[in-house]
């Protein structure tokens, strides 16, 4: 722990501070209350600075400085660290300062772990810092978050905004660099929820592997581009259309069976109060018939219809299909 007597407070002019941000831990949208607070009552929390080569380097307070700059303030309250304090300790202070003010978004966790990995072993990162960042102390989480640094600006921005989750991000990182941007762009356009997002990325990967084509080629196919650019559809409708296209391409035989089943069901022309449900995925054991009726006459009519259908070829074909 740093000794309190080695710290001092000072007022520091903006031009005395380097523009570099060696321990940047902020990423994405600024917290909504910060700008309003700084506008209303000014700077309460000091920047953390360290003397370096006749100037100061910014250890913590990147956002506060930027907003105060935009508000036209040229001088800041600052906590000045001893010049001989090492980078590892300075980073520790920056981390605690940031974590005390807000929970980190996923992109910020990536940044934090990337910085920390310069000074700590994987075991220390797993046991000490993953829990500090709200992550389970397991190697797979360290690997995942360290790997996410490869996502680039678009991916980290999506992570910070919550438009991309770390698990899906990990799937995207494993793709070739040329595919990643195209996938992230697709997700940004469709804005699917968490589970649908994972499904879309998994299907894209699997289609690419099955067909031996890059993922971007799948996305750039005519049908998908048409769905994305269809002005008659809103975003959820586009997302649904794209998912249906991907599913049909990922499961062509299943789709073929489903279409055949739908045609046969339609050809039965069942009365409105009779429902016939085939087994799930052509795999279950039993068909189910549901009959709603208001009186005996209606029941008899439905049963007669079913009897007639049971003797005909369409229901037999449907049952044969499974």
């Amino acid at each position: 722990m740093i000794k309190i007597e080695s710290l001092r407070f000072a007022l520091v002019r903006d031009e005395e501070i380097d523009q570099a941000t060696p321990f940047l831990l902020s990423y994405g949208l600024e917290p909504s209350g910060l700008r309003a607070s700084l506008e209303r009552i000014g700077q309460i929390t000091p920047l953390i600075l360290q003397p370096a080569q006749g100037r100061y380097r910014l250890i913590s307070g990147y956002r506060r400085r930027r907003i105060l700059q935009e508000l036209g303030r040229g001088e800041y309250q600052a906590l000045i660290l001893p010049p001989d304090l090492g980078d590892r300790e300075a980073l520790g202070l920056a981390l605690e300062d940031n974590l005390s003010q807000r929970p980190f978004n996923a992109a910020e966790k990536v940044l934090a772990l990337t910085h920390l990995s310069r000074f700590y072993s994987p075991t220390e990162l797993i046991q000490t810092f993953l829990p500090r960042l709200g992550l389970p102390p397991k190697a797979q989480y360290l690997d995942r978050f360290m790997g996410l640094a490869e996502l680039g600006t678009a991916g980290l921005t999506a992570l910070a905004a919550g438009d991309l989750d770390p698990e899906t991000g990990e799937m995207i990182v494993k793709m070739p660099a040329e595919d990643r941007a195209v996938v992230i762009d697709l997700l940004n356009r469709l804005r699917p929820g968490l589970n649908k997002r994972k499904q879309i990325v998994a299907w894209l990967q699997e289609i690419g592997r099955r067909e031996g084509v890059p993922v971007r080629t799948v996305i750039e196919s005519e049908a998908i581009q048409e769905a994305i650019q269809d002005e008659r559809l809103n975003t959820p409708q586009k997302e649904k259309a794209v998912r249906e296209l991907l599913r049909a391409r990922r499961y062509p035989r299943l789709k073929e069976f489903e279409e055949k089943q739908a045609r046969l069901l339609k050809s039965l022309n069942l009365p409105p109060k009779v429902r016939l449900e085939p087994p799930l995925n052509f795999e279950g054991l039993d068909f189910t018939v549901r009959i709603n009726f208001a009186d005996l006459k209606e029941l008899k009519e439905s049963l007669e219809t079913l009897n007639r259908l049971a003797a005909g070829p369409d229901l037999a074909a449907l049952v044969e299909l499974g």
């Binding site: 797979q140 494993k174 699997e206 592997r209 099955r210 990922r250 499961y251 062509p252 035989r253 299943l254 069976f257 087994p279 799930l280 995925n281 052509f282 795999e283 279950g284 054991l285 499974g322």
Partner: protein
């Protein structure tokens, strides 16, 4: 031979340090640690290099659980350990077990005593017992000799047989035994591309078949399990090749049965395979969620592969005893033209032995 390495060290529960199994294993492996108690919740502490000797508190003999709606062959499982280090990409144990270590039950003598009690009754109904449900039957046979002890235990039985299932070729310890024709040594086999690419730690296919031939020379009957059948580029030619090889190595009359089981898995396995075997393509086919909660190939795809295998096998031996492992009556009908029902399948296999 198996291509996977053996465990490198032992971890033993203190109360088991004097057990027969511990003494046998200590001759081959250094002890890494003796722990006061090792329960299932401790298993994740151990890695693929560890052989864990722990006490088993559950039943050592239990019927194969089967699944409603799917026909089960009715085996009784002798449960002496769990885990496997052959590293097959498709292995369902990866999603069942919470460890990559191999666990053997150090109090297996209790299980063998229970088995002896059951066998001593020597009364109907006829029972087929097997090991190899949660681990490979012969994986550590050269270290433990458990398989050989079981073979001798079953030798005089009239109401029971033993099936040892393996993907190794480690039959050496079984060859000189008086087995009384009551043990079937079964080999899990696959198409050459699957055996080479997805079973990289197991014995090469030809070695397995050579081991089967050696077992037959010593009077054993053998079984073959095409399980899991995996659709892959060129699968018809691949499976035809393996069927041809089987009949080249082993005389048809020495084959007790051949089972067919298409690849199926609990949904959680997909992520495990993606993480541990990123180059494997086995998950890229069309799978659907089946009534037993497992992902299975879409039914017509299963029927297609079963029919093909059945045709290949019957070309070599029209009377072969072929059955489907955990399949629905409907699939049986589509493949064989009939559905044996659960009792008849069990009786059919009982009669074979």
């Amino acid at each position: 031979m198996v291509r996977a390495g053996k465990p490198k060290r032992l971890v033993i529960e203190r109360a088991l340090t004097d057990s027969l199994l511990a003494r046998a294993l200590e001759k081959h492996l250094p002890i890494r640690e003796v722990r006061e108690r090792i329960g299932p919740s401790d298993y994740p502490d151990f890695g693929p290099d560890d052989l864990v000797l722990a006490r088993h508190y559950g039943s050592f003999i239990k019927p194969c659980p089967g699944t409603r709606g799917y026909l089960c062959c009715g085996l009784q499982i002798i449960h002496f350990g769990l885990g496997c280090h052959l590293g097959c990409t498709y292995c369902i144990l990866q999603s069942y077990l919470n460890t990559q270590a191999l666990v053997l039950f150090g109090n297996v003598e209790d299980g063998l005593a229970r088995l002896q009690d059951l066998l001593a009754r020597n009364k109907p109904p006829f029972r087929r017992y097997c090991t190899g449900e949660f681990t490979d039957s012969l994986l550590l046979e050269d270290l433990t000799g458990l398989g050989a002890r079981l073979v001798e235990l079953f030798a005089g039985q009239s109401q029971a047989v033993l099936e040892l299932k393996t993907k190794t070729d480690q039959v050496q310890t079984l060859l000189g035994l008086n087995h009384g024709g009551r043990t079937i040594i079964s080999f899990s086999v696959n198409a050459p591309a699957v055996a080479a690419g997805e079973e990289s730690g197991a014995a090469p296919l030809k070695k397995r078949l050579a081991a089967a031939a050696r077992a037959v020379e010593h009077g054993y009957r053998v079984g073959f399990h095409f399980d899991p059948l995996i659709r892959h580029p060129g699968w018809p030619e691949g499976y035809r090749r393996t069927v041809a090889d089987i009949f080249q190595y082993v005389p048809a009359e020495a084959i007790a049965w051949i089972s067919l089981g298409a690849f199926r898995y609990l949904p959680g396995l997909k992520a495990v395979v993606a993480g541990r075997h990123p180059k494997s393509r086995i998950m890229d086919e069309e799978f659907v969620l089946a009534a037993d909660g497992k992902m299975r190939y879409l039914r017509p795809l299963r029927v297609e592969i079963y029919r093909s295998l059945l045709t290949f096998i019957r070309e070599f031996w029209p009377e072969a005893c072929v059955y489907l492992c955990m399949e629905s009556p409907r699939v049986w009908r589509e493949v064989f033209g009939f559905d044996p029902g659960p009792r008849s399948l069990i009786e059919m296999l009982d009669q074979r032995v």
